[in-house]
């Protein structure tokens, strides 16, 4: 059976959920094999095995953290040559769309980014579902040449365990000088509360123009924290400087696809909808009954968010403490 290579997303030895999702998707096309670039593989191995990785290819060393994207692409290209996989899956992050682009060039392969689902066609071809034009159109796409290189959006599937051996295999790879053109000299994390990552979060609470100020965002953060959610913001908010740019959801910001998206004081302009339209459940709170966000909402409250949210917070506290 062909292998399916899955580039593991990890941080300090912890395996990110999107990796388990990709291992779950990979099973239908062959034997999942995780690829671990960098340190910490021993800490992640059990988790990868639990979710179906028969093999864990490990390339340790500092090159993967010291240089941008090219070393990972070289690693994956060497594994593609060695294992002739049915596909290579990567998480659809800014970083990995670039790794995937390089890999597609190296292997002369078709590249599909930001898949929200993967299925096998009758002829065995891998078909990726993509949600394009701000979620307004669903496209099924396939690859006609080379090894399918596909990046997968977090939360595309529920991860399902399926125990496998998780056999660690060390990969000897001398990263070329050509791959060392962009050197990382520092990493600066913006101050960050203990909240889930926006792209990965199961619940996202976003605030818009209606929140009115930086101060108003405390209410959004309180609601997010009461639900274990990530905080998002509309472009109006980030342009006004009320909340940092990296939290922007929408056409020019992040695309999220959580189980629950709460749009608070967001009118729902098409550019914002582009970033959240594929959310499973949407709740909207807005003063304006004509706000287009209500067309998307599974549940909407027409009212003043400064009245609705405090009441909601009290009820959530009652539920979660009792």
């Amino acid at each position: 059976m062909a292998v399916v290579l899955v580039l593991a997303e990890h941080s300090g030895g912890d395996v990110k959920k999107v990796t388990l999702e990709m291992l779950t998707l990979a099973r239908q096309f062959g034997e999942p094999a995780a690829v671990w670039a960098g340190e910490g593989a021993a800490d992640g191995q059990a988790r990868l095995a639990e979710y179906g990785a028969a093999t864990v290819f490990v390339a340790a060393g500092g090159d993967f953290t010291d240089y941008v994207t090219a070393p990972e692409a070289e690693l994956l290209a060497s594994l593609v040559a060695d294992t002739s996989p049915a596909a290579v899956l990567l998480a659809a992050t800014g970083q990995n769309n670039e790794v995937a682009g390089r890999l597609a060039v190296k292997t002369n392969s078709g590249l599909l980014t930001d898949a929200v689902g993967l299925a096998a066609a009758d002829d065995g071809k891998i078909v990726a579902e993509q949600s394009v034009f701000g979620g307004g159109t669903i496209v099924h796409a396939a690859i006609r040449a080379g090894t399918p290189v596909i990046t997968v959006r977090p939360n595309s599937v529920a991860p399902v365990p399926a125990a496998a051996a998780g056999e660690m295999r060390h990969v000897e790879l001398a990263v070329s000088d050509a791959a060392k053109g962009a050197r990382v000299t520092g990493r600066i994390a913006a101050d960050r509360a203990e909240r889930p990552e926006l792209a990965e979060a199961a619940i996202v609470v976003s605030g818009g123009r209606g929140v009115g100020s930086t101060g108003g965002f405390e209410l959004i953060e309180n609601l997010a924290d009461s639900l274990g959610a990530a905080v998002g913001a509309s472009r109006a908010v980030t342009d006004a400087g009320w909340y940092p740019h990296k939290f922007q959801v929408g056409q020019t910001g992040k695309t999220v696809s959580p189980q629950l998206y709460m749009a608070i004081g967001i009118s729902g302009a098409i550019q914002h909808r582009a970033g959240m339209q594929t959310s499973k459940t949407i709740i909207a709170v807005n003063k304006d009954p004509e706000a287009p966000i209500f067309e998307l909402a599974d549940f909407g409250v027409v009212g003043d968010l400064f009245a609705v949210l405090p009441q909601l917070l009290v009820d959530i506290a009652k539920q979660t403490s009792g």
Binding site: A70, T113, I138, I188, Q271, P289, V301
Partner: protein
Amino acid sequence: MNIVVCVKQVPDTGAERKLRPGDATLDRDSVDGLINELDEYAIEEALQIKEAHQGEVTVLSMGPDKASESIRKALSMGADKAVHLADEALAGSDALATSYALAQVLSAIGFDLVVLGAESTDARMGAMAAMLAERLGVAQLSLASKVEIDGSQVRINRQSADGYWSVEGTLPAVISVVEKINEPRYPSFKGIMAAKKKPVQVMSLADAGIDASLVGLANAVTEVVDFAERPPRQAGTIIKDEGDGGNRAAEFLVAQKFI
């Protein structure tokens, strides 16, 4: 410094965008074409680099004749000249073919620095800077929220999931920029008038040494199997807050097992 800015004409994100039923390519006729929004930040950054370090800014765009509108806009912002890669054989090219075609042109015209927007609003792949760097064998300094150039050294802040990385490399290099890097200037009246006289070199496949068997819809390595408009969401329950809006929202969360 020889700076080349890659510019893509895309359908207006404010309009309803569609694929064409026949070949599943982008319907460029029914929607106004605009310069890709992030590319305006790329043009602005290129102009600022030129203003600080001397040199010349060339706009490079691959696209149908209509793309000349976007090229003109870039020139009116202050770019010096343009190259328009326009050939019917390019229609329907996928990312792999596009990166090949652009790399061929860039090799032909030469560059110290290539600047792109981090992604286009239509395809949203965010891979082109990396693909060009891979093909051209130069440093990839992408997703930049800040660019500093000192001689042949380039330092950027690279946007990451939780902040940024400091990344450095040497020229020649490919840079891509994110929205927060600058505030693109508006073309002045003088700029608009001047743009009309600026040279635009139209290149064909042959001019750029592009192998026709590697580009275009027929040679694409990806294909659209089928597509459909997303079915409208089921109409939800919309209530007016009559003093119990928060309670009712909480009830919904309980019913849906979110709390």
